[in-house]
Amino acid sequence: MTYYNFLLEPISCHAWNKDRTQIAICPNNHEVHIYKKEGGGKWSKIHELKEHNGQVTGIDWAPESNRIVTCGTDRNAYVWILKGNVWRPTLVLLRINRAARCVKWSPKENKFAVGSGSRLISICYFEQENDWWVCKHIKKPIRSTVLSLDWHPNNVLLAAGSCDFKCRIFSAYIKEVEEKPSPTPWGSKMPFGELMFESSGTDGWVHSICFSGSGGRVAWVSHDSTVAVATGSKNTVISSLSSETLPLLAVTFITENSLVAAGHDCYPMLYLYDEGKGTITFGGKLDIPKQSAQRGMTARERFQNLDKKASSETEKANLESVHKNSISQISIMEGDKSKCSKFCTTGMDGGMTIWDVKTLASSMKDLKII
């Protein structure tokens, strides 16, 4: 597990390139910085992408076509293409009147989806005749800001988590760029904008949402400290777990049955989903805290504690996790959602940590990743 501190401000969002040698991050301002991995655990900044007029809220890097899409609070999205040694932006008209919140390339990279505060999702694709990115809107029945998006492997279904407390799966089928999709566990008729699934039962804004590797399951975390998984079928069953921690902000599948989620508690956690029983169980805390030397307390300190905090025990004043502030995003570095061997977290402490699943599994005896 390696930790690198990029900046003092929060990292708003990040994205990796195909071979994981470069990372694009937004240092909590209007720009996107691309860092390249040098030897010895060092990172050097090689590009600065300055085009947005508002904070960049989402970055996604398409691995095959090597294009970056960014979206920001200035209600715009830009597609960046590397020409020579410079990244050149192309404006995409999203036709939204509120900030864009999240953006994701589809698996085939011929379209991308942008979630915004205008209570709609813009599906953008490239129109060859006009040499221009155009977009179509999915509006109904979203009633509040769309906070998170994830594409199904079939390139058509899109899961969206929003501030109206619901997780939904829509069809984003664009007939200009693709063939009709074959039936999936979520339904067979998929015209554009069709609502395939809507969740119920959890309160709280849906911060993050993720399809499993096969696309048959979708997991989401919401602000009422719950994790939920739904398996697509004729009668979709939603299983949820109310956790005892602070709300989670990011979730991803690392195998078909295991989820890693992280949030305001500053460490990632493992959750195990059992489809047969329809339950989610807490698998363990995925953080190896440094063993700090135990200092004995002087009598003076004891009295001070008793006076200030009404307790005479040694209080942990420092956070023992690797990240010193909330983790806002998790991305898969090696492997894919059905079998991940490394994942990366970035947070509000400006740091990025790369976690190795095998090392975690071996160092935590009770950890079982099924």
């Binding site: 209570r119 009633r143 509040s144 309160d203 009422d224 400290s225 109310s242 005892e244 921690t245 602070l246």
Partner: protein
């Protein structure tokens, strides 16, 4: 300094009421919700001398009036819960909390915070003792669920 003599009544207008995109919760029929049955709880409280506080707790946490808009019903339920919580001995609180399941602990937290909103003579002390035990059972997650709940007791 100049004084603003023109009318500022417009500042007191609630603009959210006129917003056509305003979010309204889905109506879920809560007319049949009765809240904990008063008769049942009363009889259990009478048995408190024989020490059946646990039974009283289970009974009063059944049927929370969550879906209804009837404020009187909610107040009555809160009053009943407070009565039962106050009749516990400090030492028994921990055992009682352990006997509840996850949803029970969340529900108890909701009632505790409701009770904090309208403090009476002794209620805060009692509620704080219950809060400490419920917190160790439910963690901060249960408090987050009190804060984010759309339908409250």
């Amino acid at each position: 300094m100049s004084k603003n003599v023109s009318s500022d009544r417009f500042r007191k207008v609630d603009v959210d009421e006129y917003d056509e995109n305003k979010f309204v919760d889905e109506e879920e029929g809560g007319e049949n919700q009765q809240g904990p049955d008063e008769g049942e709880v009363d009889s259990l409280i009478r048995q408190l001398c024989t020490g059946n506080v646990m039974g009283a707790l289970q009974a009063v946490l059944k049927n929370p009036p969550m879906n209804t808009k009837n404020q009187a019903l909610k107040d009555r339920a809160e009053g009943l819960v407070l009565k039962v919580l106050s009749s516990f001995k400090s030492g028994d609180i921990e055992k009682a909390v352990q006997s509840l399941d996850k949803n029970g602990v969340d529900l108890l937290m909701k009632y505790i915070y409701k009770g904090f909103e309208q403090p009476t003579e002794n209620s805060s002390t009692v509620l704080l003792q219950w809060h400490e035990k419920a917190l160790s059972a439910g963690g901060v997650g249960s408090i987050v669920r009190v804060l984010t709940a759309r339908r409250t007791v």
